[in-house]
Every structure is written in structure tokens, then in C-alpha cells.
Symmetry: C2
Subunit: 428 residues, 2 copies
């Protein structure tokens, strides 16, 4: 309402006047976020649309209907990435890519990924509303399996697209029930013979909620993301010997939980020794066979390690690996730690960062330059095109959580920054 | 072969002579153990016939066919306990009960429980072969859900039969998929309106593998079981807050794994402080939602505590409960420890113990008087009838393990002790 009032106050032809700093329709964007959140809605207000489930497909189909209605041509590549294309005046020039993902964690929120996709769509809708063409084509991407929670490779679709992961390796990934990416793509009717070519790009931007507490704590409205921290996922396996909990004396057991008891305090301690930016997360612990009165024959747990500083990250990882080996040796049990996924840290493109910085400044939004704590598809995109990201605050820094939330004003602000940065990158 | 040779050497009428110390047919018993192990056989040579699964039903049906062929009448009560009855000369006098269970752990062995049932059947077959009647009736029991791994109440069927667990509480138990005991009994065609009456008993004996290493280590052939240690199962729950593993600083997390890291070393240490007979087992650890890059919102793990000495058991349990509460308080997280099942220790009946002792002595088997580390249906039976148990060694003390094994000679020895102890108890 404030925006319309300002427009009307300034000029008899508001369309022309407001074009100096164009703005999105925040209400349309918000209502689409809420409509998408109905698909896979969870009782506690979150979303469960894990990659390549029926819910994920339904979300993608809703998006594709909206994109086609906005005049885009829509195609899906052989790994399930979905692209909506808007023509530019120079139809064959390299495009500006906007995009994120629609898949969620099992107890995810309404904004993680979805905001970047629907924020991008809102940019296209706003250009349509205003009859604006851009010099370069715009390409709106919905990357397949960003979360990596069902199939254990985060940012899978963008990694295959960027040539950083072999297509067959992605196809071969399986979920806990044994279903494969290949099988699920086929089940959902995605054509595995579709081209996997990478469109030429001039620049790429991704809009996202912060998923952390920094912007909120510092009362900043926009994060100008200059890079992404180093990160990797590991699986620790400990092999023990199944034995009855009653008659087997403690000293005769080969109990893998002993290794866990020994390791966990050490891993928290060494993380703390690498400063407040070091992160260590155990998200999954599983025991086999999983019976309350049987000493487990096998223990498996995941370790996620992150640090924005390369040297610290490498030290953290090497020390964690040494601690696992030492604990196994102390308890004379077999096992090990295996890196199942890693994403090197990224420094984003100076030109794309400047476009975001200038847009935030033009909109008079208080912004903070920061490094992303989470991995994003932009990590892969940055390997093949100039890239940057835009963050907005999310309540209490909560994400990967059904209670994840962002305010309508911040959601609108972020899309306005995206719109203006895209206009700059697509017209120069 | 040695027995036959001795028989033939001593007497022209071996049947009459050998009746002074009757012996079972070890080969028949062994072949039936192996036949039963085909049902639910696992690739590694163990068995998976968890309670009230199709495999469990198939095992019970095979047993019922054998029992009927041996002249028994078979009935099933309202909680799924199966009884095979052999008449005595004094048909209405209190019976001698023999029994154990046919259900197994998910990766269980061929002997745990099964040996007690088929050893009992072998006693009946031997009496038939020799045309022997007993004064008292014999009652061969197959108790329902002894393991308590699928439905979380070990020794369920015998507890309901003994009046120690309400029938409706047992019916209401559910497995991890949400299936209930009531629903599974109905699905398997077990009549919930069948009588649940407890037959009058003069004595009860249960034959079992040791499930521990003591007999093997001491080179003893028979364990004369004088009682069962105190034991209980607990569930610890820790509530945290789901958060993204990347951007959430460590000090802002509400991470339930911190409590696990803090608790596990303390629980192992306090167990050790209660001496070598104290036992602490964590069989199941689960994290929710269970995603490698999400700080868990909830952690659940099981704690099994045992000690043969009542005072030590009570102290161990109280200290473990205090440690859980203290760790939750230190980390300012909600949660708690709940006792989900307990079985007080038992001192067995002097008369039944004497019958086992005398039988082992008559058979010239080197025996050890000992307390059972594992719970057994006899714990419940002992509440309503004079009871004792007989153990035989199992290789490396391994049980609740697909590699569980016992030698044919030990299996035959144990059944011979059971036969002679039963004859004594059923004829006096």
C-alpha cells in the first residue's frame, strides 16, 4: 500500500514514474508461496515434498502451469531439472539464470528453495505486467533434489547440469527403501532421453532465506552473499558383535556404542577448538539390528562438517577423521569414516555481487555482505557462470524445520532486489 | 552310539535296562531344531521369526503338527500362548509344565527359545517311544512374544498367563509400523475369545541355551539355574530443535546429540562402578527427522539395565535416572527417562532345582549352579508355580545373533537332564 501511495502521489502516470525502480507484486508472490505450501503440507505447518516423490512432482507441475501461463516455454532435462525460458531481445545471447529448488526436507518449511523459485517467477510476472523486455533471455531453473535427504547427494540436479557429477552416478543413488533416482524419474514420467545440455549463461542469481540467525540478530534486511563455506558429509560405521544384553559380561562385548560414547565428546570439542564458525552436526544415528536387549552388531551415523575458512575446514576434517580412527583402534573394533559428499567453498562473482549491492542500495534496504553457511545450487552454477546470491532474514534463523518462516515484507524486499539485479545483468 | 553299545553289552532286554536312566533321541531333536530353523531362515544362518509375524505362525503350526502326531491335545489361549497336553495317570492332578518360546530376534539364532520347546517335545516323544506314563499330566507351553523386540514387552504371553500383565495392555502394544498385538493375533486367526485360564501346576522346568559365555569358559556341560537377575528396559527421549546444519551457529543450537555425548560416557562409567555383574546396553538409537544436514529435533534411545544383586540393581537404576535428568538440565533440553518394562529378579524353587541337580548327577554331567543373566518366561511362571531352569553352553556365549550355536552333544545332554528331572517331578 505504501508503494502505491508513493506512486500516486508523485505522478499522474505512475507506470512510467515507478519504472525507475521497478517493484514486484508482494501479495501475488506471498499467495503463491502459500499455495505451493499446501502440497505436502504437514500438520505443524511445514512441508514434506522430498525429491522425486509424488508431492515433489505435484509442486513442479503447479509451478510449470504458472510459468506457462506467464508465457514461458518449459522443458525438463534428463536429471529432472525444470527450466522456464523467457525470450530476450537478443534471443541467442547468453541468458541470465534465476533459480532454486522446490523439494524439501522431511519436516521442512514453506520457504527453503521455494522462495527462490517463486521469487524468480514473480520477477518474470512483473516484467510481463510492465511489458518489459530484457536484452538477454531469462532462464528460471527448478533444480532437482537439492536437499539430498532422500537421495544422499545434495544439489544433485545442478551438479549433473554443471558437469560436476556423472549422470549415471546420480541415477544410481538410492533412498532407504532401495528406490533409485533413475527408477523414480521414470515412475514420475520424466524423459531420461531429454537433452542434458547446459544453456550459455551471462550471469546467475539465487534468492533464498538465510536459514541462519545472522540477519535477524543484526537487524539487516538483505544479505549480499559473497560466497559459500566449505562443507562435506561423512558416514561413520562401527562394526561390533551382536550379543544378548543379559548374560554377556560388559568386558566380553564388542559394543559399537562404546565408540560413539568415546567419539561424540571429542568431536564436539575439536569443533569448538576451530572457533564459532566451525560446525559439526550428527543428523542420523542408526543401530542394527535395533533391538532393546541386543548389543548392536553395527552402528552408523552421519557427520556434517563446515567452515568458511579453507585451512580451518581442512584441519577440522582431518582431525575428525583421525579421532574416528583412534576411537576404533582404542576399542579394537572395525569400521571407518567415509566422505559421501563434499562441496568446496565458493567465492562468488564480483559483477553479480555488485548488481545485488546496487539493487539493495537503490531500494534503500539495509544490507550485510556475508558468506552462506548452507550449500546451495549456486555452488554448482558458480562453477560454470558468474553467480551471486541474495538472502532475506528468517525467523529465529530456523530452517529445515516446519516452523521456518519469513515476513511478507522481507519476502517482498528480497524479490525486489532480485528484480533490479536481474534487470541490470540482463540489459548490459 | 556309546549308549547303544552300553545297552547291548549289559542286557538282552535293553529297553528294560536302559529305563533306569532314560535318554532322549538326540538325532531326532537335532533334526527338528534344523527343520524349525528353515522357517524365517536368514542368509547368515540365523532366524527371523519375530512375534506374530507370518514366520512365527508357520513355526507354531509346524510345532502343533508334531505335538498332535505325538498324541497331545493342542490349544491356544487368548494371548496366543500354545499348550500341548499329555495326559497323566492322575488326569486331574496338577501338571508339570515344560516350555519356552518359538519367536526370535530380527537377527536371532536357531536355539534361543526353540531348544526349550523342541527339547520338551523330545521328552514327550521319548516317553511315547518307551510307552511310559507319568503320574501327573505334562503340559508343553509355547509362550507368545518372549523376545519383546517387535512388541515392546518381553515375556508377554507368560506375563499375561501368570496374571502379571493385563490382557488389554498386551493387546494394545504396537510395533514400529503401528500394528497392534490385538490386530496381529486376529490377522493370524487366533481366537481372542479362547479361555485364558491357568492350569494347576505342580512344577515347571525350562531348558535353554545359556546365551552367555560362563559354561563354555568353565568347561561345564549343564547349568543348574537357581534364579534370574533383576532387569528393566527404559526409553530416553531428548527434545531439541530442528535446524539447518549449515548456517546455525553451534552455540545457538538446541542439539539433542549433545545430551547423548554427555550421557553415554557417564552411563558406562557408573555401570563399571557396580562391578563386573552390572550390565548396561543401548540397543536402539534413533534421530528425528533423520536427515544428515538437519540438527535432530528429537532423539530416542533405549537403556537396558541388569544386576543379579537387588541393592546394586536399584542403585544402578537410580543413578542412571539421575544422570539423564542432570544431562537434560545441563543442556537445558526437555526430555526424560521412562521405564517401559521391568522384571524383578527371581529365586527358583529348591525342589525343582534339586530335580535338575539329581538328573545331571545321575547322567554324570559336570554341572554349575548359576544365576541367569537373561530374562525368561520362567520368571513369570515362577510367580505361580515351583520352577527351575536348565542351561547348556552356547558357542562363545553368543545369542541374539545369527551365529548362535550349540553342539549336538550339549543339546542332547540338556534334553536328557530335562527328561529325568521331569520324570522325577511328574511321578512324585
Amino acid at each position: 500500500m505504501g508503494i502505491i501511495a508513493a506512486r500516486e502521489g508523485r505522478c499522474a502516470r505512475p507506470e512510467t514514474a515507478s519504472m525507475s525502480i521497478p517493484r514486484v507484486d508482494g501479495e501475488r508472490l506471498w499467495s503463491r508461496l502459500m499455495a505451493m505450501a499446501q502440497i505436502g503440507a504437514t500438520p505443524k505447518g511445514g512441508c514434506n515434498r522430498q525429491a522425486l516423490t509424488d508431492g515433489d512432482l505435484a509442486g513442479r507441475e503447479l509451478f510449470a502451469r504458472w510459468a506457462r501461463a506467464a508465457g514461458c516455454t518449459v522443458r525438463v532435462d534428463a536429471i529432472g531439472n525444470l527450466f522456464a525460458h523467457r525470450r530476450g531481445r537478443a534471443a541467442s545471447s547468453p541468458a541470465v539464470l534465476i533459480g532454486s529448488h522446490l523439494d524439501t526436507q522431511p519436516t521442512g518449511g514453506k520457504f527453503d528453495g521455494v522462495y527462490g523459485v517463486l521469487g524468480g517467477l514473480e520477477v518474470l510476472e512483473t516484467l510481463n505486467d510492465r511489458g518489459l523486455e530484457t536484452e538477454r533471455p531469462l532462464e528460471l531453473a527448478v533444480w532437482c533434489n537439492e536437499e539430498g535427504c532422500r537421495f544422499p547427494a545434495a544439489m544433485m540436479g545442478s551438479a549433473v547440469w554443471a558437469g560436476r557429477m556423472p549422470l549415471e552416478a546420480a541415477y544410481a543413488l538410492t533412498d532407504r527403501s532401495g528406490a533409485s533416482v533413475r527408477g523414480e524419474l521414470e515412475r514420475l514420467g520424466i524423459d531420461l532421453k531429454a537433452p542434458l545440455e547446459r544453456q550459455p549463461l551471462a550471469a546467475a542469481l539465487e534468492l533464498h532465506i538465510e536459514q541462519g540467525p545472522v540477519l535477524e540478530q543484526r537487524a539487516k534486511r538483505i544479505g549480499i552473499i559473497t560466497g559459500v563455506q566449505h562443507m562435506s558429509r561423512h558416514e561413520v560405521t562401527v562394526l561390533g558383535q551382536e550379543a544378548h544384553a543379559g548374560p554377556t559380561p560388559m568386558e566380553m562385548r564388542r559394543d559399537p556404542i562404546r565408540v560413539l560414547a568415546d567419539l561424540l565428546p571429542r568431536l564436539y570439542a575439536l569443533t569448538a577448538a576451530h572457533g564459532p564458525q566451525a560446525k559439526f552436526t550428527v543428523g542420523i544415528i542408526e543401530t542394527f539390528p535395533g533391538s532393546p536387549n541386543t548389543v548392536p552388531g553395527r552402528l552408523r551415523f552421519t557427520v556434517d562438517l563446515r567452515h568458511p575458512d579453507l585451512e580451518s575446514y581442512r584441519a577440522l576434517r582431518a582431525e575428525a577423521e583421525r579421532e574416528v580412527a583412534a576411537a576404533l583402534a582404542r576399542h579394537r573394533l572395525e569400521g571407518g569414516i567415509e566422505c559421501v559428499w563434499q562441496a568446496p567453498g565458493v567465492v562468488f562473482d564480483a559483477g553479480c555481487i555488485a548488481a545485488v549491492r546496487d539493487a539493495a542500495a537503490a531500494l534503500e534496504l539495509d544490507a550485510l555482505e556475508m558468506v552462506s553457511g548452507a550449500g546451495h545450487d549456486s555452488v554448482n552454477v558458480a562453477a560454470v557462470a558468474p553467480t551471486a546470491m541474495i538472502f532475506v532474514p528468517c525467523a529465529q534463523g530456523l530452517s529445515h524445520n516446519e516452523a521456518e518462516s519469513a515476513s511478507p515484507a522481507d519476502v517482498e524486499n528480497g524479490a525486489n532486489v532480485l528484480l533490479n539485479a536481474v534487470l541490470k545483468l540482463a540489459n548490459t
